[in-house]
Point group: C2
Chain length 127, copies 2
DNA sequence: ATACGTGCAAAATGTTTGCTCGTTT
DNA sequence: AAACGAGCAAACATTTTGCACGTAT
């Protein structure tokens, strides 16, 4: 199964992680690239994707894809769930995670390592 | 906000819904197209997407995107959550939905109409 | 020294849109 | 008749890959 391989400690990868951390919420690959670039470090998009894949493999980062839109990446250590407005697309993190650690009726032998939960509906302004 | 518009009752749209219903689980747009086609009715992919968007607007269908892979669509009336293996990618529906109707700390005024929950980890065979 | 990271451009996916014409209401 | 659905091809956005070279371990 997934060996939690460690990733190499390069300057760019540090900056990618730092950008996600500084954001405090989930970012898309493009946003990450832009933020790192804005701080004076040019970086290829492919590099961002490869770094994110490595981080995810290592269990550092979790990915969330909110229906259709680009996938977002956040620190696994700062897991949180989301509420998404179907109309305007805005989404907000939840403080409390309302899901159980593991479902009651998972397949036998399945080891749950995480989850991803999004509530959707319509925000006050869009109703 | 989203007026639950009714969609027109065309032959193709009926077949799309029937395909999803017959499958009993979430399908991708491509799978739907293939199944409808296999039953002798050629249909364009754009048509499938537009129909699904209309169904979603009408609240008939819900969409789920399991990290990276293509978005899957299922009947909203037969909502269920999933368990996904990070190694082999196989996923299974859960009988019981372990999420609450709505989170405690959603933004005020937010009306929750649904959710989407996926547990992930490693299945018995991949561990 | 070796395995891994990076950039670039190209390719592969998945999804949406413009236009024209057909069908439902 | 009017509004919406369908088909096709082109456009789009996102993500992945091949290759040549650089860097961390």
């Amino acid at each position: 199964m997934a060996d939690p391989k460690r990733t190499r400690n390069t300057h760019k990868r540090q900056r990618i992680l730092r950008a996600i951390q500084a954001a405090g919420c989930h970012l898309t690959a493009g946003e990450i690239r832009r933020r790192v670039g804005r701080d004076g470090l040019a970086i290829g998009l492919a590099t961002v994707y490869r770094a994110l894949a490595a981080f995810a493999r290592a269990g550092l980062v979790e990915s969330v894809s909110l229906g259709g839109r680009a996938t977002r990446y956040g620190l696994a250590a700062e897991h949180h769930d989301h509420v998404v407005c179907l109309e305007c697309g805005r989404w907000q993190p939840l403080r409390r995670c309302p899901a159980p650690r593991a479902p009651r009726d998972a397949a036998p032998g399945f080891r749950v390592t995480g989850h991803r939960l999004e509530f959707f509906g319509y925000c006050g302004e869009c109703r």
